[in-house]
Chain length 264, copies 2
Amino acid sequence: MKKCWVLLMSLALVLSLLAPVANAQPSENNDVLTKAKSTHVQIVLFDGFDLLDALAPYEVFAAAGMYSGGAVTVELVSAEGKRSVPSGMNGPALEAQAALDPNRSGIILIPGASGKPAGDTEDAIPNLLKQTMKTGLPDMMKQAFNNKEVTVATVCGGTLLPAMAGLLKDRYAVTNHIGMAALGALGAIPIEARVVEDGPRLVSGGGVTSGLDVALYLVDREAGPQIANAVEKLFEYEKRGTVWRAEGIAPIDFNTSSKATEEK
Amino acid sequence: MKKCWVLLMSLALVLSLLAPVANAQPSENNDVLTKAKSTHVQIVLFDGFDLLDALAPYEVFAAAGMYSGGAVTVELVSAEGKRSVPSGMNGPALEAQAALDPNRSGIILIPGASGKPAGDTEDAIPNLLKQTMKTGLPDMMKQAFNNKEVTVATVCGGTLLPAMAGLLKDRYAVTNHIGMAALGALGAIPIEARVVEDGPRLVSGGGVTSGLDVALYLVDREAGPQIANAVEKLFEYEKRGTVWRAEGIAPIDFNTSSKATEEK
């Protein structure tokens, strides 16, 4: 990866030399710019995590790092520190590179679990999430929610983890459609959208593949639309859905509102 | 996973007891049916492989196995056997569980590499693919192409590997748009579609996320549309694009055909 940055920086240097506006120290300035704007992403692994929930965003952020010359960095972490973390459904393990640091500014992304969608057997998602609530993760999530320099992003069942920790009371969020009732029961306001942003510091995504959309939105927000677009082209995927926010005109609810009839 | 099958089988038993048509040995018959129709998928890892190319299909097949009670099974393999295989761009390693067996009937899926999209540095995709061609994989791919019980599926740059082994001469295929010219130069007929099927035994996909579509198509083909649809709902993703095959009416090419003008 380091070689990659060096090469991209060299390319940037060559391009800047060709550019009409002269710049005395383009390489050095670029370095400063990159460091100042750099966004670090910690993706949290826990026993039974869902591979795609974690790795689709991982790869989006990694590619954004490649295209931006390091303005986005990403690592896999766990509450327990560096360790091999088994994914759900007897899937392959991934190595967490470090301990989750809730005080580090940037993005903390929480994936869901993978397993049987219901039930209370050992390999059922509700049980995997309950087990995770017994680890150090809930406390770390609380610290992250209290840190104004941190955006917490969740994907799929990952939204249920802060909800179970009591952190989503009256907050807008989405999870896999299977978990929407549970999300509401835990005090959150479930919104049927692919990606929901509640304030700038909480971004949640729906089922598994919406992790692509959560990550592309955050890349757009943090590193700009050109980088997000470059990743989309490479991955042959276009971000789906409007990111829902509690702003602007609220649509008339034609199912429940009497206003609908009045305004006909 | 085993517990999961047992539970699903138990559920199938209960459901069959409730069904109006009596069946003397429903559980046993289900077992026989499952075994007879079971499709095994080997996903091939190699140094520098792309995480999503490999794991998006892995998770689709794994979920198909869950919903079908074991009619689809999937494992990660490598040409060298059981080992830890590093992904590209200094990403996490995955454990290959066994050696690729080109003589085992079912599906062999080849992902692409992840790295710089061009160039000949150590971390560039063309170099990663060249290095892979020096392993035992090309010979194994040849055996797989000669085995009538095997469907070879490729995703993204993974299509270039059999092409580099001379196995795609005059065959319809697709790869990441960045590699389409190379695919043509290697003797294949590049088709701009998300998924291309050349005969039933070669299915290729375009860029990274098209691995979802390749796997959903194969699940539909091997285990049926209801299983594919169940996975789509769980993943909140709908298979994109018509699978291209050299069948039916070929569309008029309005850019090059004089027929276009004549038929106006």
